[in-house]
Symmetry: C2
Subunit: 488 residues, 2 copies
Amino acid sequence: MLKDWIKSERPETEEIEKRLEDLRARLATKQTEIRDHKLPVLVILEGWGAAGKGSVLGKIIRNIDPRFFKVSTQSVKTEEEMRKPFLYRHFVKIPEAGKYMFLDGSWMDEVTGEYLRGEIDEATYRKRLDSIKSFERQLTDNGYLVLKFFFQIDEKEQKKRIDALLADKSTKWRVSKADLWQNKHYDKCMDVYDEYLRETNQSQAPWYIIDAKNKKWAETQLLDIMVNGIDTALTNGEHAVPILQNMFPLRKTPKLAEIPLDKSLTEEEYREELDKCQKKLAKLHNELYRRRIPVIVAYEGWDAAGKGGNIKRITGSLDPRGFEVHPIASPEPHEKARHYLWRFWNRLPKDGHIAIFDRTWYGRVMVERLEGFCSENDWQRAYNEINEFEKELTDWGAIVIKFWVQIDKDTQLERFTDRQNTPEKQWKITDEDWRNREKWDVYEIAIDEMLQKTNTTTAPWFVLESNDKKYARIKALKILIEEIEKRL
Amino acid sequence: MLKDWIKSERPETEEIEKRLEDLRARLATKQTEIRDHKLPVLVILEGWGAAGKGSVLGKIIRNIDPRFFKVSTQSVKTEEEMRKPFLYRHFVKIPEAGKYMFLDGSWMDEVTGEYLRGEIDEATYRKRLDSIKSFERQLTDNGYLVLKFFFQIDEKEQKKRIDALLADKSTKWRVSKADLWQNKHYDKCMDVYDEYLRETNQSQAPWYIIDAKNKKWAETQLLDIMVNGIDTALTNGEHAVPILQNMFPLRKTPKLAEIPLDKSLTEEEYREELDKCQKKLAKLHNELYRRRIPVIVAYEGWDAAGKGGNIKRITGSLDPRGFEVHPIASPEPHEKARHYLWRFWNRLPKDGHIAIFDRTWYGRVMVERLEGFCSENDWQRAYNEINEFEKELTDWGAIVIKFWVQIDKDTQLERFTDRQNTPEKQWKITDEDWRNREKWDVYEIAIDEMLQKTNTTTAPWFVLESNDKKYARIKALKILIEEIEKRL
């Protein structure tokens, strides 16, 4: 879990500052909410030595009135504690209803440390893990919010920090023997921590890995998860469940507004390229069929962006026995009565086939989010659920390609007006299209968030600049060809 | 999980019949409740070949209108299914909101089978387990009730059933090659099933192991868990969580009403025994201290049963530096604001010490249950939570002894009246005692359930027949001595 974790990209400093300010203000309002709802909140900070847990914790609690929280730093066991069950000193520290308890180091630190130093044997360690799982489950079952953070820095970064602390007389004392030992045995520790996180990563009390290289960014991540976690717990009455951290490797994704849309092709270039690409794709289609590789192409985009025409240029070259296009409208009653991914599981291609989705499961985090067809907790959870879904597909062997067909607002207006004024195109434009157009800005926010959170390395998003439809069509064909060729 | 499972005792046939009738009626009322709450219910039956899944399933569905459920039997993969992701054929079968789906065999059967037959390698199997965990979590996160049952029979029983089926021409066809293979490789299969259950035993979708030796008993267990599981899901708004199966080995426990209370000692016998026992205990106390073994003695019993006097006879012989008595009253505000076990964790003895609790954590399933101080889900969950708590204590090395001090209703009345009429005893009797006395019958039901569900082999209950207090005191001392000697 920790070993294959790939950190998300860190935003620019300015962006971090803005988010921090917002999150700090939001956290400050939470203290009375958790008091009113009698919610006990246990925040556990674990991680590598010198990863900055203490300093981030110091910043976090500045936003909370001292009457609402306690902080406890893991210390050496007292003689009294050594004479009690190992969970004793942890259990007695749990917060009371309506308050926070912050633990700087906890049972993870204790048992992994004892195990690494050989103070407890394998069997005892396994028993401890079971005890810890029961303990955490008992807390959440009884209404506790348990937030577990692991501060991650790599071996080099840890070494750098330790050396810097050692170099200064006034900070030298902050480096413990344990820190030095940990850095020297980084890989061994990594193995144990990785397994510990995996074993104790229960869905009601999941682990959140914090990229701790930059302090402000670490604070931002932690505050973000805390604030969302508290919101979730407070609305637990509506079957809200914890938002799991997105553990999928993500690609760098530009914001929609930053994408230049001036690309175009002449009619001649277009004809030439189209012919070439379609012939190529037809050949590849046979090869896919022969080698039984399934392909899933997902289209999303603004109304009138040219999805339909784009799809036609793809299918134009394909053998009809080997592909299907699934136009996705509002779910039917029997579909609405099931998990929102059900209707897509039902439409998966056989191996060797191509399935093209004209609108997709991303409706969950766009229209369903914005029209209130699902709860906030539902769509917040959906990014991870969708990434898991697509991972099932790629693990199965599918090539998954997702196109966002992009136009600007003016181009949409032009096309809408054209549709309205052209009798044979009038069926393509509805009042709903106009209503959606009015919500362009909120849609753009949702789409940017969607692209950021689901642009995985295994199922990437590709933006098709479609102010010039011809350009977008050729680009789609070329991407498809390239991705298939990569696989073959 | 499966390997160390010890089945609970099967009730008498008559008792089973009675419970079955009640449970069938309750299940019948559930169908409209789940429809009204749009709750989708997925019931998964797994287990050994010839364990009787199909026949129990046949009985269960008789209580449900066919419009409310579907049944799907695991079959050989179709050519179509083989060409889709492995979860495909399972995902498409999920129930719709407000209905049941019963799966006779599911993904467990599929992946463990493929793994056992060597059709998938270790790495693929691990990946499948991860996929299954995500899949089940996605279902429960999205509001599905997922009930997973494993029908357990031992190797001999399976062999007997297979032989019986084979011996009859009309049933011979029901024995598959897989069943024969499974029986021949019972231990190997057991290893794989055990690990599978452990790995996929998530708290929001836990496994329930069904003792399938007797069909009516199997049906009773399954119905019981189903009905309670549905109740839990329907009240999810109040933070209700699944009731985990009690996985602790339980001792046979008589009902309170069946315990004869005519035992007594003469004053002379009592004096003699008391002196002998107290001297013995004093010696053992030193030994416990020297060897640092902690002892926890829990007292529960009817008002005026004689707990106080009983405790005095124990402590009378102990060195005051080595024991503590904790009288447990209603929780203080700071205790009420925390997990109900918190105040007991805080009162644990040091190793080598004896802690005696005059009333205990069992208040959760007696007074808190009956006075409505906690929700039904809370006290239902508490049996398992308490067993887990006591397991922490015994794993730590403690001797845990629980006394139920038993008297009959007449004796209580006598003692109450005596207290009322004796000025120096009047402080011992309150209006509340009289009120509780009126609830004798409901308390007795709760106490019987408590004794049944928490009488574990590691932390057993002992009943002290206390119509004659002298008899009860000597019995307590002797049990204490015996249990300590066993350990030393």
